[in-house]
Each structure stands twice: as structure tokens, then as C-alpha cells.
Symmetry: C2
Subunit: 359 residues, 2 copies
């Protein structure tokens, strides 16, 4: 008897369990990817906030620790020009909140937002390190770059937040599509025009995407235990991508204020907000979200919105406060457990098989 009936993603990626660890830029690291990969899932390394050198270092470490397949993840947004006027206006909106929080708002803004988009240098890096899987967020890079990634031997994955995006990704060379429901933590993968408030939850989105494309579908959003994995398989997904359930993993050195916020969070704790980067992303509601958002028409374009908050965040964090920290989290945060990542992975898979066999 086969353990998992639908083996499309298992064969495509060369993994044992239908679990992809979400990359989680700024949080995920080599240790997490190693642990998940060793447990039989797909380990992912987020590269969007790394330099090429740092990414190479991390990949080298991962490759010495496991021969399992690896996913490298990139943002592929079209970079926006820095709009000084809009940044200054946004700083003025933020100023009274800095004052009322008793914090200084530095007039000097960092020169660079520190979030990279996939480009020539990253592509050359990929050709060198030859990851088995490359996943993109915010669509796909230019066709020429996609062709080079494919020629380097990587399976190509990206996220769809709508059926239209799934069709687009299937037509533009994705080997698998992540169907990202509104429950998901962090940035929505949205890349085609449309209204945020018409996007569907995972339970509605997955079957509609499964019906629309022939490409295997990976369900994401709200899946944090074996019940969620089993449910996703029933909806027609071939695997799941899981982020929030790994946030308390031993391998992640989460700042204590972020960890504390996750431990306190319940089903009503998160919201989609654009104030931290300029793009909608799910985070725990805190002072900044309440006072500036959750969705502000004044937030500068991605990824510049966070620049004006940077000094405020640093001062608040130094004082032990999460008031201005982006506390990325999905809606199933209350299901996350503080355990080694390998155990989290095995528990989710084991519980899924249990509930599937009980029916």
C-alpha cells in the first residue's frame, strides 16, 4: 500500500512527505531547511534578504548536512523607484505615533530597503549551486531568466492567490503551483491586478485551482497540523506548504518579542496589512497595524514602506516592545508547537495519515 496516494509532488521534487517548508524570508535559515529535509519534507532557504555570499554559505552548509533536495526561494517583484516625496509624506504620517509612543523618529532613512529581487547575479548563483527546486514569490522573473533556472535543472514553483494567477503560472512554465489562501502568513504572492478583499480562503481556492490547471497544486494558508494536511489532500492538493507551524521550531532563533506574540496569538490575532513593506501581508495586529493600517493608501510602494518604520522599530524593540515590529503569522498560529522542526514535520505527516485512515 502506498502511504500517499497522490505522488506527483513527491516524484517531482524527490521527497518522502508531501510537506514543503515555507521559506519565510527573514526567519527561515539553513538549520530549519536541514531539519525539514532530513525528516523527509522539502527544506527551503529564503534568499530575498540575503546577499549572494550569505546564500552561498548557507547552501554549502545545507549540502554538507543532507543530500536531500533543496528549494531556494526568491522574490521577483519589479523594483519600484525610490519615491522621496512619498517616503517623506509617510514619515509625516508616522511621526505623531512615534511621539505618542515616546520614541524618536530618525530623519535619516536607510539608502536601500534590503529586499532583493531575482536578477542576473542570483541566476548565476543558481546555475552554480544547482538547487533541485526554485520557488518564486510575486509571479515569475523574465522568461529568459526562467529558462536559465530550468536549464540549471531546477523545478520551478510560484504562488497563486487567484485562479487567474494559477492559469498564468501554468502557462508560463511552473512545474507546481502553490494555491495560497487568505489564511496564509506573510506576504500575499499576488502579482496580477485585482482586489485583495475578493481573494479566496484556502478551502475555496484549492479545488478551483485544481480544476483550472493540470499542474500539481500545493495548498498553503491555515495548514498547521495533520488535520490541515489531510484536508488539503481531500481538496485535490498534492502537497502543502507550511510556514507558521515552524515559527516556534527550535532551529529558528526568533526574537523573544516575536516569539511571545506568537505564543499569545489566537484565531482573531492576525490581519492583512501593507504598512510594513507596502505589499499586503498577514501579521499579528500590534500598535503599528492598529494606528497606521491595517491597509493604508499612503504606504510607499514595496518594499519602501518599512524604511520609515525602521528606526522606530529599533527603538521600540530595544525597549522590549513589539509595537512597530512586523509579526508575520498565519491564521492557524495557535496550532504551532515549540519542537524540533523534524518532529514538527513528522507529527504533521503522522497525524494526517491517522485522520485519513480513521475515516
Amino acid at each position: 500500500m502506498k502511504t500517499w496516494r497522490d505522488e506527483r509532488i513527491l516524484s517531482l521534487f524527490g521527497i518522502d512527505l508531501p510537506i514543503i517548508q515555507a521559506p519565510m524570508a527573514g526567519v527561515g535559515n539553513a538549520q530549519l531547511a536541514i531539519a525539514v529535509a532530513r525528516a523527509g519534507g522539502l527544506g527551503s532557504l529564503p534568499c530575498a534578504l540575503l546577499s549572494v555570499d550569505k546564500a552561498r554559505e548557507a547552501v554549502t552548509l545545507i549540502r554538507t548536512q543532507t543530500a536531500a533536495p533543496l528549494n531556494l526561494n526568491f522574490f521577483c517583484h519589479a523594483p519600484s523607484p525610490r519615491d522621496e516625496q512619498r517616503l517623506a509624506a509617510w514619515s509625516e504620517i508616522i511621526r505623531p505615533h512615534a511621539v505618542s509612543a515616546g520614541l524618536p523618529l530618525e530623519p535619516t532613512l536607510p539608502a536601500h530597503p534590503g529586499i532583493d529581487t531575482f536578477n542576473e547575479s542570483w541566476c548565476a548563483f543558481l546555475e552554480n549551486v544547482a538547487p533541485e527546486v526554485v520557488s518564486f514569490h510575486f509571479g515569475l522573473p523574465d522568461a529568459a531568466l526562467v529558462a536559465r533556472v530550468r536549464a540549471a535543472g531546477a523545478k520551478i514553483v510560484s504562488s497563486a492567490t487567484t485562479v487567474a494567477e494559477a492559469r498564468w503560472l501554468a502557462a508560463n512554465g511552473c512545474d507546481a503551483i502553490i494555491a495560497m489562501g487568505t489564511e496564509a502568513g506573510g506576504h500575499r504572492g499576488t502579482f496580477l491586478p485585482g482586489e485583495l478583499d475578493t481573494q479566496a480562503g484556502t478551502l475555496a481556492l484549492v479545488p478551483q485551482i485544481v480544476d483550472a490547471v493540470d499542474t500539481p497544486v500545493i495548498a498553503a494558508g491555515g495548514i498547521a497540523d495533520g488535520r490541515g494536511l489531510a484536508a488539503a489532500l481531500m481538496l485535490g492538493a498534492s502537497a502543502v506548504q507550511i510556514g507558521t507551524a515552524y515559527l516556534l521550531a527550535d532551529e529558528i532563533a526568533l526574537p523573544p518579542i516575536y516569539r511571545h506574540a506568537l505564543e499569545q496569538a489566537g484565531d482573531q490575532s492576525t490581519v492583512l496589512t501593507n504598512i510594513f513593506t507596502g505589499r499586503p501581508a498577514r501579521a499579528i495586529v500590534n500598535r503599528a497595524v492598529r494606528e497606521l493600517g491595517p491597509l493604508s493608501a499612503h504606504a510607499p510602494q514595496f518594499p519602501f514602506a518599512g524604511l520609515a518604520l525602521a528606526s522606530l522599530r529599533a527603538h521600540a524593540e530595544a525597549a522590549g516592545s513589539d509595537d512597530f515590529t512586523p509579526l508575520w503569522s498565519g491564521q492557524s498560529v495557535s496550532l504551532a508547537r515549540a519542537l524540533p522542526a523534524a518532529e514538527i514535520t513528522r507529527r504533521i505527516a503522522g497525524q494526517a495519515l491517522d485522520v485519513l485512515r480513521q475515516q
Copy 2:
């Protein structure tokens, strides 16, 4: 071998299939309830827009056609006083849209919104007709009325849109709790304070409610075929409540413009809006939603917001336009099929068993 492993809802209500037909005030009728009940699900009659006499007529018809258990559904909101000033201000907001649509906006508003809340008369009616199940929307009526409903022999059900609401319903005498994710069509069942944009999707909400209460849970929102039913069972639900999948049923005489909108709708077609009644409800985006909402701080309190739109809607509909019609729908509308309701019910149950057994 038992067909359905979890028989808690089947035993509680005395039904064969773990499918509750959503009442759908204004749309659901005796024929639909009869067809679903005969197929083995729980048929529901929505009473919120009926007079006691009309409801008695419908129940009498249902009882002559089937001996199966019946659910009677009521709204139980605390009635708001009619606020003439707010209604007049809302009319002024609507006026330019009437003008640009080339439609007259009648100055005279109907005296009564036509949406009843559960009260003494309805309770006396229940005691007389003795339904097996009574479901409420917007919480529960006063404890004294709840006690009388229970004494009349009915199992009591209500909807929770958060874990806190589920705990409240469990503590206040519900025999089963509907976990209503954000995908669901029509009115959110919300009755405790909280922000709409922090409410969870079905896939995230159901397991968190299952973990929080001992009461059996009925999943609702985004479930429109057997895949959704199977997924809900994996999440720990004992049954599902399905609305949108019945909207195209032969038994419902849907106005052609509403039917047409449903047939054209996809995954991005619906949004939560308060402009039609004053409470947030999921509907297909149309001109009124785009121009007045989707969420307006100026909408008069439930259910008065719709009064000012009534004449505009009537004129538009007479001209064959759905511009001002509330087109209630959930996010899985593209999965709805035009079939007899009994066949819809049997297909959903059959497909669920198929996908469960394939794993």
C-alpha cells in the same frame, strides 16, 4: 463498516448524511428543504423574512411531504431603533449613484425593513410545530426563549465566526456549533465584538473551534462539493452546512438576473459588504458594492441599510439590471451545479466518500 465515522451530528439530528442545507433567508423554500430532507440531509426553512402564517403554511407542506427531521432558522439580532437621520444621510449618499444610473430614488422609505427577529410569537409557533432542529443566526435569543425552544424538543444550533463565539455558544446551550469561515456567502453570523478583517477562513477556523469546545462542529464556508465535505471531516467537523451549492437547484425560483450573476461568477467575484443590510455579508461584487462599499461606515444599522436601496433596486431589476441587487454568494460559487437538490445532496456525499476512500 460505518459509512461516516463521526456520527455525532447524524445521531443528534436523526439524519443519514452529514449535510445541512443552509437556510438562506429570501432564497430557501419548502421545496428545497423537502428535497434535501428526502435525500438524507437536513432540510432547513428560513423564517426571518416570513410571517408566522407563511412559515406555518411552509412547515405544513414540508410535513406532508416527508417525515424527515426539519430545521427552522431564525435571526436573533437585537433590533435597532429606526434612525431617520442616518437613513436620510444614507439616502443622500446613494442619490448621485441613482442619478448616474438614470434611476429615480424614491423619497419615501418603507416603514418596516421586513426582517424579523426571534420573539414571543415565533417561540409560540415553534412550540406548536415542534421542529427537530432550530438554528439561529447572530447568536442566541434570550435565555428564557432558548429554554422554551429546548423544552419544545428542538436541538439548538448557532453560528460562530470566531473561537470566542464558539465558546460562548457552547456555554449558552447550543447542541451543535456551525464554524463559519470567511468563505461563506450571505450574512456573517458574528455577534460578539471584534474586527471583521481578523476573522479566519474555514480551514483555519474549524480545527481551532474543534479544539476549543466539546460540542460537535458543523463546518460552513467554501464547501460546495464532495472534496470540501471530505476536507471538513478531516479538520474535525462532524458535518457541513452548504448554501451556495444549492443556489442553482431546480427547486429554487431564483430571479434570472441573480441566477445569471451566479453562473458567471468565479473565485474573485465575491466580497464582504454591509451596504445591503447594515451587517457584513458576502455577495457578488456589482455596481452598488463597488460604488457604495464594499464596507461603508455610513450604512445604517441592520437591517435598515437596504431600505434606501429598495426603490433603486426595484427600478434596476425592472430594467433587467442587477446593479443594486444583493447577489448573496460564497467563494465556491463556481462549483455550484444546476441540478435537482436531491441530486446535489447525493453527489456531494458520494464524491466525499470517493475521495476519502481513494486516499
